[in-house]
């Protein structure tokens, strides 16, 4: 591992210097969204479950900034809460898939041989399954709860994370410094933690962003189908689904949550793009 003697101040100023306008806006928006998610209960002007008016799909007004939803609840409050639920689930899913996927990927790369080929074959077989089909089959059997959703999507994501992290680790394992460590008599654990992990952090961070976006889109799609988050709980996908009727009244009630999903995903993708260009690392285009 190459040690760079950079104090954090100069590295931060270097990052700021590299920022493109797009990346800057994206990071700003992502920070804002995360803050909204964290402080949702205090930010929401109304109780998200409270029925405030008898009118469905009221247009935006001074009181209800984004209007009312199909039951006459405040859409803004529900949107803020939806952001919180969506972000929470997506983060949990991505963390879980990384712990499993990176762990297995590094393990396969470090040990190689039969262990590697067995894990890789099983993974390839799982990848031959369209992701949505796997999710629908599990949800059909176990019903849809937060636990089922999180574990199912994390499992699906894990297969992708495994492939990326294994490929990264395989490339690092043949480096001279790893060979030196092996000759020195360092164990596998030491090599994984001290050599492989630090040297794959940037591409893994980028992959984390991609997986996070994917998790958001996947849960939203499931919720939109009515098979994801179940009412009375609601994420952004549920908000789009339950307010579909608004379109017929010429209101944009369900377009706000749909655009929120897109905005989060776009910012994340722009950020990841910038991160990859900056480190000149390369990840596959395929999700």
């Amino acid at each position: 591992m190459i040690l760079e003697k950079n104090d954090w101040k100069s590295s931060i100023s270097e990052i700021v210097k590299d920022l493109t306008p797009g990346a800057f806006l994206s990071i700003l928006f992502l920070i804002l969204v995360i803050l909204v998610g964290l402080f949702a209960p205090w930010l929401a002007p109304f109780d998200q479950a409270e029925i405030l008016t008898n009118e469905s799909f009221e247009p935006p007004s001074d009181l209800l900034w984004l209007g009312s939803d199909f039951l006459g609840r405040d859409l803004l409050s529900r949107l803020i809460n939806g952001v919180r639920v969506t972000l929470f689930l997506a983060l949990l899913i991505t963390f879980l898939s990384f712990i499993m996927g990176v762990g297995l990927g590094f393990l396969a790369a470090a040990f190689g041989g039969r262990i590697d080929s067995i894990i890789s074959r099983v993974n390839d077989a799982l990848l031959s399954f369209p992701a949505l089909m796997l999710a629908l089959i599990v949800i059909n059997s176990l019903g849809s709860s937060f636990t089922v959703l999180v574990f199912t999507i994390a499992f699906i994501d894990m297969t992708r994370v495994f492939r990326v992290s294994r490929a990264l680790a395989v490339n690092i394992m043949v480096m001279d410094y790893v060979e030196a460590a092996v000759v020195r008599g360092e164990g596998k654990t030491w090599i994984i933690l001290q050599e492989v992990l630090p040297n794959s952090l940037t591409p893994l961070a980028a992959e984390f962003g991609i997986r996070f976006t994917y998790a958001i889109l996947f849960i939203s799609a499931l919720s939109f189908l009515g098979l994801g988050v179940q009412p009375p709980q609601s994420d952004l996908g549920v908000l789009v689904k339950e307010n579909m009727q608004a379109l017929l009244y010429g209101e944009y009630t369900n377009i706000y949550p749909a655009l929120t999903i897109a905005a989060i995903a776009i910012s994340m993708n722009v950020f990841v793009d910038w991160l990859l260009k900056r480190s000149s690392a390369k990840l596959s285009e395929e999700i």
Binding site: A125, S128, F129, P130, A131, L132, M133, L134, L136, I137, V138, I139, N140, S141, L142, T213, L217, S220, A221, F224, L225, G226, L227, G237, V240, L247, L248, G250, Y252, N254, I255, A258, L259, I261, A262, A265, I266, M268, N269, V270, D273, E285, E286, I287
Partner: protein, 323 residues
């Protein structure tokens, strides 16, 4: 290895994958708490009626026997009976005709999407790849980056808002009537196909672009540039043949997006296809329907990937002319 041996090997792997998929589909639908008999009877479950349904559905057989019976029937084209229509008579409706009917509708939707999206995205991907970093490339890559961030339903929701609600040009719901002629079909299919096209176009464009850029940066192409081969000839004669393998792969991979897209779009437009059938079945826990739909979608996916790999093998000159 000769071409035939390679293709044979790939076919064998494909067959094994299909078998694995079938095991996973069967196991996945078997892990539900209780058993199918409970799911069918619900509140009406008494020990006697449970026993009756179990016997009727063959649930008293061991798991592996049931798996092979199921698989054998599936291969023969016998998909079993729907549990949702499992009334007092204990004779559910056969789902074969329903599958055929809806499968055809889905084929129509997915097929017309592929017919538009595949050539368009390859054309756009090539255009972007000709001058990486140029204006056209920058516009295409940033637009497609935004598009791949859209949830599957967003483009469709926006299209419906503009063309069905505001302008009233096209129907918002794609329900099918038997009396429909060709133009009625086109009318109801325009919005779903457009929505689906957008969801896969961006992915395909980006993958095509990076595949072509990869090929363009290969030593062979560098050599051709140095020899002074004109740009157009370079792209069509030198780059494209080498890019066929990767591009075909890209198309096959995008079928995965098309499958999940089909499910979402059909549900959104109330289109009477396999995707919506499966979502309804999952909602009602109609297990035979879920199994059949999952098997059909997964098999299509596996088979298309198989075909694309075979094309990649055939289009690779190094394989075609072994030393």
């Amino acid at each position: 290895m000769s071409v035939f041996a390679m293709i044979g090997r790939r076919l064998l792997i494909g067959l094994l994958t299909l078998l694995f998929v079938s095991v996973l589909v069967f196991a996945g639908t078997e892990i539900l708490p209780g058993d199918v008999a409970y799911a069918v009877l619900g509140q009406a479950a008494t020990p006697e009626s449970l026993e009756l349904v179990r016997n009727r559905l063959g649930l008293n057989e061991p798991v592996h026997v049931r798996y092979f019976v199921w698989l054998f029937n599936f291969v023969r084209g016998d998909f079993g009976a729907s549990l949702a229509t499992f009334g007092g008579s204990l004779a559910g409706q056969d789902i074969g005709t329903e599958l055929l009917n809806r499968g055809w509708n889905t084929m129509l939707l997915a097929g017309s999407t592929a017919l538009i999206a595949v050539p368009l995205s390859i054309f756009l991907g090539l255009t972007a790849a000709i001058k990486p970093g140029g204006l056209i490339d920058r516009i295409l890559t940033s637009t497609s980056l935004a598009l791949i961030s859209f949830p599957d339903f967003l483009v469709a929701v926006l299209l419906v808002t503009v063309f069905a609600i505001k302008l009233r040009w096209l129907p918002a719901i794609a329900s099918i009537r038997p009396s429909y002629d060709f133009f009625d079909w086109v009318r109801i299919l325009v919005l779903p196909v457009a929505g689906l096209t957008f969801t896969i176009l961006a992915h395909m464009l980006r993958m095509t672009r990076s595949a072509v850029i990869d090929v363009l940066s290969s030593p062979a192409i560098e050599m051709a540039i140095l020899k002074g081969v004109p740009r157009r000839r370079l792209l069509i004669k030198h780059a494209l043949p080498n890019a066929i393998g990767p591009i075909v792969n890209v198309i096959a991979l995008n079928l995965a997006y098309l499958i999940s897209g089909v499910v979402v779009i059909e549900t959104m437009f109330n289109y009477n296809g396999l995707g919506r059938y499966m979502v309804e079945a999952v909602t009602n826990r109609d297990i035979p329907v879920v199994q059949a739909c999952a098997m059909i979608f997964c098999s299509v996916y596996v088979i298309v990937n198989l075909i694309s790999d075979v094309i990649a093998i055939l289009s690779n000159p190094r394989v075609r002319y072994p030393k």
